[in-house]
């Protein structure tokens, strides 16, 4: 492929609006007669609404109406692309609840002419509450006789197998308690390991431990972290001619229509969703948020547009968080550092609602990243009365790696092996296998992995081998430490559609159904089409962020799928365009279509040459498939609708990605960090940080660098300070504001930061590009944790984040002091 656009920097089409403040986010929209609504949040960690008296509120001038859980449509069944019906989970999260299961859960909403009136009305509402049992610590819930977060129990059970011809059953909540004996080692800080609902293994784990030169058995705890998006999940909605128009903060655009349709029982064609700019999601707004239906329903009820602005404290409650994980890993190492066996046990704090997949993902990613010769995984996800957990960048994989990395580098020190070397010897390579054996007797494998190359490049950039000897040497009250970490995560899906039109003005009009959540994949991935057609980027018009503007079926903008999925879709659409252009040229000038080439904004061959503008005009004249009046059968119905609306305007390129893929797409990052710890205060600084990504072909260096270092900071936040705080007696959160739950600031960023990418194409995708959003997170977190351990020694901290008091108290006492297993301290 030529290289005019791919791998080159450029000004993305949204950038001027963003830096000049012209970009309009959900909160910036206004409509005539617009009302404002505010939410009444549950004051209890778990309770039942016995009676609501809103009479005084509704009698206030300016108050227009109220929405309660009773006004919500029942949860709808899900119908998959294959037409399979999945029964609705009636125990899942809803926009409003009469039995809130965490403090801060929305109970009702009041709409009024302004926010002050709405708030004063809410203060006049009387609710009779029946307090219910609660728990905010998964281990407390697992104890014999421990409280359950839900009336039905504390874990999600496996759905029962459906009867013949019946839809799959919804999952059910069950109770899981461990024995007192399971908790025997709790006070020593060793994670209890009782019965778990899930387990898998491969290889001979016992033999692996038997043959190991070193076996470590360590407990580590990772933090629950809010997503801390700069834009809260604000939404504004109105109805026009039976259609819902909704401005909301969401990661995805096209995919969010599906969830809105499900939540509101609306036909997808009756929803117009507008989200041109989103101020971050990190997994918490993957397909929107269920609370966005509140202004939609209020608007319908009151026949007026309704704006729901979400304040910081409400965002803390409804925004969601990464589940914290308690883990205990027993790892056997050969003399050379190779992992001979790994026995992983994880407890996930699930929050009160939908089952999170973090435990399973933790096991699969650890198995991929460190390639243990034999492995067993056990996990349980426990319900608690804390805000809902949602996927957060590198969900589960991040926690799994954070549980493992400190053990890997501890083993390196014990075995006298260099940190890079121990990562290298365990690194996946090529079509590396991972996870358990499937029912067909096979293990899944990666499409490709170049972790060793990224480690080598990082070591070179960081000058690892020159600098590492300084680790642990004290100068005055300061001691430096050096850390290396690797990371992995899934990074791409397949099967989506590309859609663009070349019009008789010679310009290329690309339709993007991808969300603009800040990663720039909504524009970057389409550069592939322009590159293949050799059209200058200046002649490309990109339409995105408005489902009324004929967008193609696109993937969820989450899980690092987009770059992979949509460079493929863009490739497929460009191939379709090229074929059509060749055919048009051959039709016009005669000869074999394949003899015509598309370059320099022309299609040229033995019989003659025409501009793309002329070809577009020809396409309209020819009609049929050329201008979109005939469409391929295999594209998604959503794309079909959009393409139909765009037909007749020029040469239409529309195609589904049907390229083969052998393996599961994953990306990797290696990271290096230098820290300086002041042993008299416990305060530390990150002096230097280098991250090298293995993400296949680099599409856009600026946005890639932004992701590599930006997501590294997200991970570094987990290492140095970001956390939740709960008082377990009351079940209530204490750290609900930024200055209390402490996401990192710009001055907490490493003093020096650099990145690179190995830029080796993935062989299983036509453009060679994989996604990047996820793997830098654990790399950033663990490079810092490993550097800290290098500075102050092992057995100083055993949970993240590592804050001033953790280090200082342990250094003072000569052993870890911080409570090892209590959640949310």
């Amino acid at each position: 492929m030529a290289n005019k656009l791919i791998g080159q920097n450029y000004a993305t089409p949204d950038i001027v609006a963003k830096v000049t403040g012209q970009a309009k986010y959900a909160e910036d929209f206004r409509a005539d007669g617009m009302l404002f609504c505010k939410l009444l949040l549950s004051p209890l960690p778990h309770g039942r609404v016995k009676r609501i008296d809103a009479s005084k509120a509704l009698a206030m001038p300016g108050v227009k109406g109220i929405l309660t859980a009773d006004d919500l449509p029942a949860p709808a069944d899900v119908v998959t692309d294959l037409g399979q019906r999945i029964a609705a989970n009636t125990k899942g999260e809803k926009a409003l609840s009469n039995e809130p299961v965490y403090q801060g859960e929305p109970v009702l909403a009041v709409a009024a002419i302004d926010e002050l009136t709405a708030v004063e009305a809410i203060e006049k509402i009387e609710i009779d509450w029946e307090p219910l049992p609660f728990v905010v610590d998964p281990l407390v819930s697992l104890r014999p006789g421990g409280p359950n977060a839900r009336l039905e129990g504390n874990v999600w059970g496996k759905p029962k197998p459906p009867a013949q011809g019946q839809p799959p059953s919804p999952p059910a909540i069950e109770e899981l308690k461990w024995t007192a004996a399971d908790f025997a080692e709790y006070d020593q800080g060793r994670l209890p390991m009782g019965k778990t609902p899930d387990e898998w293994s491969y290889g001979d784990v016992d033999a692996g431990f038997k043959n190991a030169a070193l076996v470590l058995d360590e407990t580590f705890v990772t933090p629950n972290t809010s997503h801390q998006t700069l834009e809260p999940r604000t939404a504004m909605a109105y109805w026009q001619n039976g259609k819902l128009f909704i401005h909301c903060s969401t990661q995805s655009v096209v995919q969010t229509v599906g969830s809105m349709s499900r939540w509101l029982h609306l036909d997808q064609k009756d929803i117009v969703l507008i989200s041109e700019y989103t101020g971050g999601g990190f997994g918490s707004k993957a397909t929107g948020t269920v609370t966005a239906v509140i202004p939609a329903l209020l608007s319908k009820k009151l026949n007026a547009p309704v704006m729901m602005r979400i304040d910081a404290e409400t965002e803390y409650s409804i925004g969601g968080a990464r589940p914290g994980m308690h883990g205990r890993l027993k790892v056997g190492f050969g003399k050379n550092g190779r992992i001979t066996a790994l026995d992983m046990f994880v407890i996930n704090e699930n929050g009160p609602y939908e089952a999170q997949g973090d435990t399973g993902m933790a096991g699969r990613i650890v198995s991929l990243l460190y390639q243990p010769e034999a492995m067993r995984w056990r996990g349980v996800s426990v319900l608690t009365n804390t805000p809902p957990r949602r996927a957060q960048s590198q969900p589960g994989g991040m926690q799994g790696i954070v549980l493992t990395e400190p053990i890997l580098t501890k083993a390196a020190r014990k075995l006298g092996i260099d940190q890079v070397a121990i990562h290298r010897i365990n690194a996946p390579e090529g079509k590396a296998k991972f996870g358990p054996v499937n029912p067909r007797g096979q293990r899944a494998y990666a499409t490709s992995a170049f972790v060793k190359e990224s480690l080598d490049r990082g070591a070179e950039m960081f000058r690892w081998h020159e600098r590492k000897a300084q680790g642990g040497k004290r100068q005055g009250s300061k001691v430096r430490g050096y850390g290396v970490a690797t990371s992995a995560f899934v990074s791409g899906s397949t099967g989506y559609d590309g859609l663009f039109v070349i019009k008789p003005d010679g310009r290329m009009y690309i339709q993007s159904g991808i969300g603009n959540l800040g990663t720039e994949s909504m524009t970057d991935s389409h550069r592939v089409s322009a590159e293949m057609l050799d059209i200058p980027w200046e002649k490309v018009e990109l339409t995105w962020g408005h489902t009324g503007r004929n967008l193609p079926w696109s993937c969820v903008s989450g899980g690092s799928q987009t770059t992979h999925a949509h460079t493929r879709a863009a490739h497929a659409a460009a191939k379709d365009a090229i074929a059509k252009l060749q055919e048009i040229a051959a039709h016009t000038y005669g000869g074999n279509a394949a003899a015509y080439k598309v370059a320099n904004e022309r299609v040229s061959g033995p019989g003659g040459s025409m501009t793309l503008a002329q070809a577009a005009q020809k396409a309209i004249e020819l009609g049929g498939k050329y201008d979109g009046h005939e469409l391929p059968q295999n594209i998604n119905p959503f794309t079909k609708g959009s393409a139909t609306a765009l037909a007749g305007q020029g040469l239409m390129a529309v195609a589904r990605d049907t390229y083969p893929r052998d393996g599961a797409t994953h990306s990797f990052v290696s990271a290096f960090a230098e820290v300086e710890v002041d042993v008299e205060t416990g305060k530390y600084h990150i002096l230097d940080y280098v991250a090298v990504a293995d993400v296949g072909t680099v599409i856009h260096p600026h946005s890639l660098g932004g992701q590599v270092l930006g997501r590294s900071m997200l991970g570094i936040g987990h290492a140095i300070g970001q956390h939740w705080v709960y008082d377990q007696h009351y079940g209530l959160p204490l750290a609900k504001r930024f200055h209390q739950n402490k996401p990192p600031t710009i001055l907490d960023a490493p003093q020096k930061m650099a990145w690179d990418a190995v830029n080796i194409p993935d062989p299983e995708t036509p453009v060679g590009a994989r996604g990047i959003g996820e793997p830098p997170v654990a790399a950033g977190c663990c490079a810092v944790l490993n550097a800290l351990a290098d500075a102050v020694g092992d057995d100083v901290f055993r949970r993240a984040p590592v804050m001033v008091g953790t280090l200082l108290a342990a250094l003072e006492a000569g052993k870890p002091i911080q409570e090892p297993l209590t959640a949310h301290i």
Binding site: E120, E123, E126, I127, G721, G805, L808, E812
Partner: protein, 337 residues
């Protein structure tokens, strides 16, 4: 009544342009008013709807409350002087560098531009139970939620707790106490001047207030006498984040030397008690001693005598001890810490 923690309550806003007018207003509304300085503390209280005053008296339009001037070899700082102006003022930097360093470590640049010196010393405690609206002793109730078996109290007091374990959050307060500053208070009855050390009150004296400021009184200026001008200063603040964070512990010292020995010292620690903790006995103990590691050690050990830790704040004892040591040891102040 349902609770909602968003949207400023409605109030009547007054924006007097002279101190006399402001004093008349606080006198008139003495049962139900809120004085607004830079708003960094106030807006939290108001926006959380935990305080709903009938009237808000905004001091930001009173020119005579802003500025730094020389007075009797010392300086006088108007209470509404922004922290950034305190940090940058040449007189402060030349003579009372301790205050400049402390003020520069407050919160973030934006907050220092907006926040005032008077507001910084008069702000309320940040105990997350109290600020979260829990009805504790300090809020007029009869329990300290931060001192129960399940309480999370990593940021709380290790000294002088009396029912309440909240701490003073100010960075400038320890520096001002160390510099023997005086607080000038005005009311309808006239002016009174209070030593900075006595401006702050612990829960044993009044559990609902952090300062001696009475209803009807306004802090108008802070005077710093020449006493410690040009002494050797040390200020260090340890916090979780490098910017926009309150101190876990901070320390301020002013030391004079004669013949290579300590001739006089003021030593104050913040965020370990409800008021800036002046270590008078340590000051006395180090006078006449050389500035060396042995003296620093002794001072550090003495400083934390009587400390009582809670479940999660044990680290504050070695932290305070080591910061006091460093404050005696001197050297370049760790302003970036």
């Amino acid at each position: 009544m349902a609770v909602i923690r968003d949207v400023l309550p409605a109030f009547e806003l007054f924006q007097p342009t002279t101190i006399d007018d402001a004093v008349r207003l606080v006198d008139k509304y003495r049962d139900d008013y809120w004085v607004l300085a830079g708003g960094l503390d106030s807006m939290d209280w108001l926006k959380d709807r935990l305080r709903k005053p009938r009237s808000v008296i905004d001091l930001s339009r009173i020119p005579e409350l802003v500025g730094i001037k020389e007075a009797n070899g010392g300086i006088e700082i108007g209470a509404m002087t922004p922290l950034t102006a305190v940090v940058r003022h040449p007189l402060v930097r030349d003579r009372f560098g301790l205050l400049a360093e402390a003020a520069e470590l407050v919160a973030s640049p934006q907050i220092r531009n907006q926040g005032t010196i008077g507001g910084n010393v008069s702000q309320d405690t940040r105990c997350w139970y109290y600020r979260g609206g829990w009805n504790c002793y300090r809020a007029g109730g009869n329990i300290c939620y931060a001192d129960t078996p399940t309480a999370i109290n990593r940021e709380h007091a290790i000294l002088d707790a009396d029912r309440c374990v909240a701490v003073s959050p100010s960075d400038t307060a320890p520096a001002l106490v160390a510099l023997e500053a005086q607080m000038v208070l005005r009311s309808a009855r006239g002016e009174r001047v209070v030593d900075a050390e006595h401006y702050f009150v612990g829960p044993g004296v009044d559990i609902t207030r952090m300062t001696v400021l009475e209803p009807g009184e306004i802090l108008t200026s802070i005077r710093i006498p020449a006493t410690w001008a040009g002494a050797q200063f040390y200020f260090e603040k340890v916090r979780d984040r490098q910017v926009w964070d309150f101190p876990l512990v901070n320390v301020a010292s002013a030391i004079k030397f004669a013949n290579g020995r300590i001739d006089g010292a003021r030593l104050v620690v913040g965020a370990v008690a409800a008021r800036p903790k002046r270590l008078a006995s340590v000051e006395a103990a180090i006078v006449g001693k050389p500035r060396d590691e042995q003296t620093a050690d002794m001072a550090g050990r003495m400083a934390v005598e009587g400390a009582v830790t809670l479940r999660h704040n044990g680290y504050k004892v070695p932290l305070m001890r080591n910061l006091v040591k460093r404050a005696i040891r001197g050297g370049p102040a760790a302003v970036t810490t």
